[in-house]
Amino acid sequence: MNLAAHLPALQVVLPLAAAPLAVLLRGRGAAFMLVTLAAWAAFAVSILLWLQVNASGPISYALGSWAPPWGIEYRVDSLSALLLMLVCGIAAVVLPYARASIERELRQDVHYLFYAMFALCLAGLAGIAITGDAFNLFVFLEISSLSSYVLIALGRDRRALVAAYQYLIMGTIGATFIVVGVGLLYLKTGTLNLADMGVRLQEMTSHRPVLAALAFLTVGISLKLALFPLHQWLPNAYAYAPSAVSAFLAATATKVSVYALLRFYFSVFGETAVFKRLPMEDLMLILALAGMFVASAVAIFQHDLKRLFAYSSVAQVGYIVLGISFDSVTGLTATIAHLVNHAVTKGGLFLLLGAVMAGMGGTTLARVHGIGRVMPLTAFGIVLCGLGLIGVPGTAGFVSKWYLILAALEKGQWWLVFLIVASSLLAVAYVWRFVEAAYFHAPRADLAAVREAPAGLAIPAWTLVGATIWFGLDTSVTVGSAARAAAMLLGTGAP
């Protein structure tokens, strides 16, 4: 068999198979090895796919050899290739970290289940990003959702249970909305294949079921991507989950949901249906701005760093959606680039917060007093990632913000430029709460002897911190891919 031809299937099947194998083997060491190897292999596969797509255009893979639309199609184009690389890359970095971190946070007899759930979450997210079938998307969404509910509930704090329950309710409502939307589309087109749907919808976009489907899909996916004001599940879920889970979910889950939104908007409904026939631009603009400002403002007043940065994630989702609302190549480039940039930044940040948790025994601002002295590297890493969130030049965050500003300028929306930069000032405010806690207070007496994070936690975290800086200086991968994907979505460039 020619392995290169089957990369799309392997992309999802490798992590998917690692999960039951991990359960079968039960040993935590074996489970760790297995899942990590699968994640690394998946990362390698995603890189190969990305290269393949860049070289020779989109790849279609017929599962079960049934040609689409009768069978399920896997479809890799420049957007999904980038997302796959992001999701698998983050997983490949977070897993080695998880070994060191869950040792501290989880009972040993559930470790192998943790790894299994992690592998499933990865497989689910990858499945969403790669599939070309609307219902298959829902199935893999549920795989990733169910596994993330469990992963969150495994957090040490009892509030993790409530957070997971709330996420389960909100997530299931969202998923059901998506099913309703897909159902309406199916009733109207008779097909489930996304590309086929897109073709068949072209002649009948103004029909009411299609608009209703658009609304249901938007609401459903917005629940999953935590678009303001549908974000209530997110802060608690990120705050009380085990550290490795917070990092992985913060970096990937909402990003993949954004991907699904883009996929439906631009590949199924088509730009015209979404933006010309409905006031979606204005609606998304308002929600995005509200998210950027309200969530940032709320973040400033948090006492716990994990919650603080969770609210920051809601604000950053605002930036991402803002880019979509421009409905232009530049705007979409900003959105897609920010998907990647924010993922590495926030992923690195939550990994470092996990190291803080391990060292200082908590992440409240009062507890991390003086961390700049006792854990200087970790504290410095958090500051670097914080600068990335602010969008300081030289960090990844600047790049995406730059494109957002350009997109606003292209539309002649001067006032928006100022709102975008003003919201970064709110980010300065919440990042500086950490800086002052870390550098202007003496550590609590019982924590003065805390040592720097062990290598098992530090190396993965700094890999992502390094990526934040790297993507701020060399943007050929991020912006290059994002620009290609944006051009493809809007049909203005080669796919």
């Binding site: 219902f135 829902f138 199935v139 549920e142 169910l146 509910y149 469990v150 509930a153 040490r156 704090d157 009892r158 509030r159 249970l161 409530v162 997971a164 329950y165 389960l168 309710i169 299931t172 409502i173 059901t176 099913v179 309703v180 159902g183 309406l184 199916y186 009733l187 489930l192 908590g362």
Partner: protein
């Protein structure tokens, strides 16, 4: 108009059930009742898929001699999957409820939130 309502009755029923389920999920504070509502909400969607697939006078899509008209099999397949997803979600949700009950000694949302806000309520184990 009346004919339209009658010919779309399956949709109306589906909408009513979906909204009733959604209402129970959002408005009720009991964690088990919420899950029951969630189940109804999910179940109602089965109708949206399956009902339009029915052709009056047709039979179940099991091909056999003597039948010509079959109802559409694809929605059935999709809904089979949806049912399984639904029960998986329900089971997981109930497991969470059991754990929450053990941790908080309550399964009323308001009560749980109140206990976390109490000064000694939160904290790590």
């Amino acid at each position: 108009m009346l004919a339209h309502i009658w010919s779309h009755f399956d949709y109306w029923a589906m909408i009513f059930l979906a909204m009733a389920g959604l209402f129970i999920v959002i408005a009720r504070g009991n964690l088990i009742k919420k899950l029951v509502g969630l189940g109804i909400f999910q179940t109602s969607v089965y109708l949206l898929y399956v009902a339009p697939g029915k052709i009056v006078g047709g039979t179940a899509p099991i091909v056999a001699e003597g039948f010509r008209v079959y109802s559409n099999p694809l929605p059935h397949v999709l809904i089979l999957t949806a049912i399984v997803v639904g029960v998986a979600t329900l089971a997981l949700g109930l497991a969470l409820v059991v754990r929450i009950r053990e941790a908080y000694d309550s399964i009323e949302e308001d009560e749980i939130l109140r206990r976390d806000q109490a000064p000694d309520g939160g904290g790590e184990a």
